[in-house]
Amino acid sequence: MEAKRVISLVLTIALVLGIWAAPVNVAADQDAIISMTIGSTKAYVNLVPKTLDQPPVIINGRTMVPFRFIGESLDAFVDYNPTDKTVSYVLEGNNITLKIGSTTATVNGVSKTLDAAPVILKTGRTVVPVRFISEAVGATVGWNPTTHTVTITFKKEAVVIGGILHDYNGGDLDGFDPQSNTNLLLFNACRQIYSNVVTVGYKDFTIMPDVAKSWDTSSDGKTITFHLRNDIYFSDGTKLTANDVKFTFERCFDPNGPAYTSGVLDYYLTPVKIVGGQAKADGKASTVSGIKVLDDYTISFTLEQPYAPFIQVLAIPAFGILSEKAVTKMGDTYFAHPVGSGPFYVKEWQRGSHILYAANLKYFKGRPALDGVHIDIVEDENTQVLKFKKGELDVLYPPLAQYDELVKTYATNVYKTADMSYYRIDFNIKRKGPLQDISVRQAIGYAINREQILAKILKGQGYLAKGIFPPGLPAYNASLPGFSYDLAKAKQLMKDAGYPNGFSLEMVMRSGRMEDEHLALQEALKQIGITVNLKKLDSATYWQLLGAGETDIAYRNWWADFADPDNFMAPLFHTGTDSNMGWAKPEYDAIIEKAAKMTRISERIPLYQDLERKLIYQDVVQFPLWNTITTVISNPKVRNYYLHPSGVVAYYPVYLAH
């Protein structure tokens, strides 16, 4: 409401100033000045006040500063490796790794000695000696003895304009119609060529203005009015107006349109309950009455009831704003001739070979630094690796089979990010059999050595999950007890349930997808006498069997489309979704619906956390395994290739250093 409006206004002003200040409006352009005071939780980054959860401290006469805070303020990739007890930064091609409790650190592969070892304090935060870390990244340190203030000044390198980034896709795209699919390949394409009403940050899910410069919500929380920018053009030269926004969303409800069968409508818009949406989807209305164009640059959406994540839904790449004129003109061939208003446009597309995106020089936030992005379609993992080694690709997501070697060879250019993902075992509770016994489901959980699977198969790319919500999501609950590998307990539970000799179960899997993990789970359950019959299937049969509940267990995952707990609860546990093999509870449905209608996140979180505890610890509906990490290796020239927790990378901030 009022506060929201002010925030959007501030963001808008910042945005406008950014454009005036430099031709390329990317975060990396700005120098960073961090100032902190010993013992104080107040800090400033470029004069913007910040609150520290760990203030700087003096230990043995050395000033120690919080590692993560400094890194994030400088825009570095910050990583903590719990197995090796190391913390690291990657910043502008420099890789700095420190070991907790050790005075030896590595800077770009060379060992250096510190005058004090990094320590983890009671707050759980790592602190490191300020002088060392600043100098390692190329920053200067200032010290004011009267105020006890440390100032770290970091001059960022200038963004280089020009060049082509060489990236790749592991498969072929069907086309560029954002409403035609919900897979990562299409989302990635859409992120480059379209603008949304609002968008998300490059590294997280922070909502930022895009086509809309501000918005306000009515007092009943049901009508949201967006004020659009009036300086946005599509790549065909036509101006983007509120009518295009209306057209984009109405098309999602068209029973003969692509969104109707692609999941875009079902997954993302049906839960929003826009007034008149269902009528249009049922063919009873030609327009959606809840979407109103107030003038060329103002549009309002009216919902049947408040829906907390509504704004976040609008940032999903599937809702890239379409040009009404272009879509109408191209008709059935639009997918091959997309017209957007994003930082890039599709210059060439050859199925099975490559996509070439070219910079949109008239992009309303300023042209991208890159001249273009060349995406090779490389299905074969070996070819991906060889192409990267040869320099034909600038980035590589190291395949598991060659992970160790690659990460070692290119150690100074390894970047990681925690995904907004949740991997788990689904139990088919509705099917008659031993799984209906809760002790059996618990026994299965205790029989799985998750640390080992994470380390050996996934190469440490993940965190053990304690519940449904991954770290970083509002509602993530660090205080859940979690599970540990306990074979004796698992065997006891099986015995108590009356299955001392075990039984056999069916488990479906898609051929070629996560096969090693499936085999490891099969091995794990063998230890408590459960024989898992793995059924290797093609995708279609796999989804059919899961949908019909014709398997006992399944190893599955969920990646968030937006950072709201509702995006985990509704799709995974509400009646009527395709997940969980038909299991649901009406009382839980009521909680999920109620929480989605509430607007204050602080009031919603307890509801979600309580429900999470019930589902995982009381009903044992699923066994949580891990939240994954994505790793990418890049050519040392590549800057700002930010991995996003959704898996969708934005090329807009990327540039290639000299």
Binding site: N256, F335, T383, L386
Partner: protein, 307 residues
Amino acid sequence: MRNYVIRRLLLLILVLWGVTLVTFVLMHVVPGDPAKVLLGKLSGNEALVTKLQHQLGLDKPLVVQYFEFVKGVLRGNLGNSYKFKASVMSLILERMPATIKLTFGALIIGLLVGLSSGIISAVRRYSIWDTFSMIFAFIGVSMPVFWLAMLLQLLFAVKLGWFHVSGFEGLRDLVLPSVTLGLIYSASIARMTRSSILEVIRMDYVRTARAKGAPERIVIFRHVFRNALIPVVTLIGMQFGGLLTGAALTETVFQIPGVGKLLINSTLDLDYPMIQGGVIFVAIIFVLINLFVDILYAYLDPTIRYD
């Protein structure tokens, strides 16, 4: 001869009809519903399945579906791919240039290496050349194509830097995939050439040619080679067809937008129009190549008559 060709071309229509009928039956016997495949995770939603089946025309009786398909083919319309939405014909044609280039590249390498090593090892039987080329052929026949491809990529692209690892932009990018496929095919050509020559070389007319004092070169190339070619030509014809339709692995490894990958994927996606179109395409190619091979027989061996 002309009558024969016309008869064979008329037969093509019958073959195509048979092939489409068999494919159509097989597609519908194999479990799976294209609508559900397209819906993926949403395939549990019955209303959507019904809706999509209707959109794709899958709710019509099978007989009607088949006749609509045949009607389309007669009008030159193979329908639209479920997955790509584009017309099947355009999808196949779009990928033909790459496939044709790769096929001819592979064929040239295959013939050069295969024929020469086959001839040498037959003429210099039990020599070091024979042993060497037969070991080579043995390796070529047994080596998986993707493995050879990877070795070539590693040596010539990554280590020596002569070529791109993958991609299909210039003629230079044709070299590694052509050599990969060519070497694999040359192995069987070499073996076939060798055994065929050894068979012919024992013939009476070869002895006669030698007896009348013809130089060895003439004996080998005019009398032996030409007669020995018939089984080799058959083999090459079959390989040619195979290359035009199914170099999917090589295409994947070298990132070539060819037909093979398209056809393989269409079966995995249960993309009925694409499968049908692909099968018709493959059938036409094979019938035409067989016809060409048969005509070549008559040229190579004047005792073969078709009229």
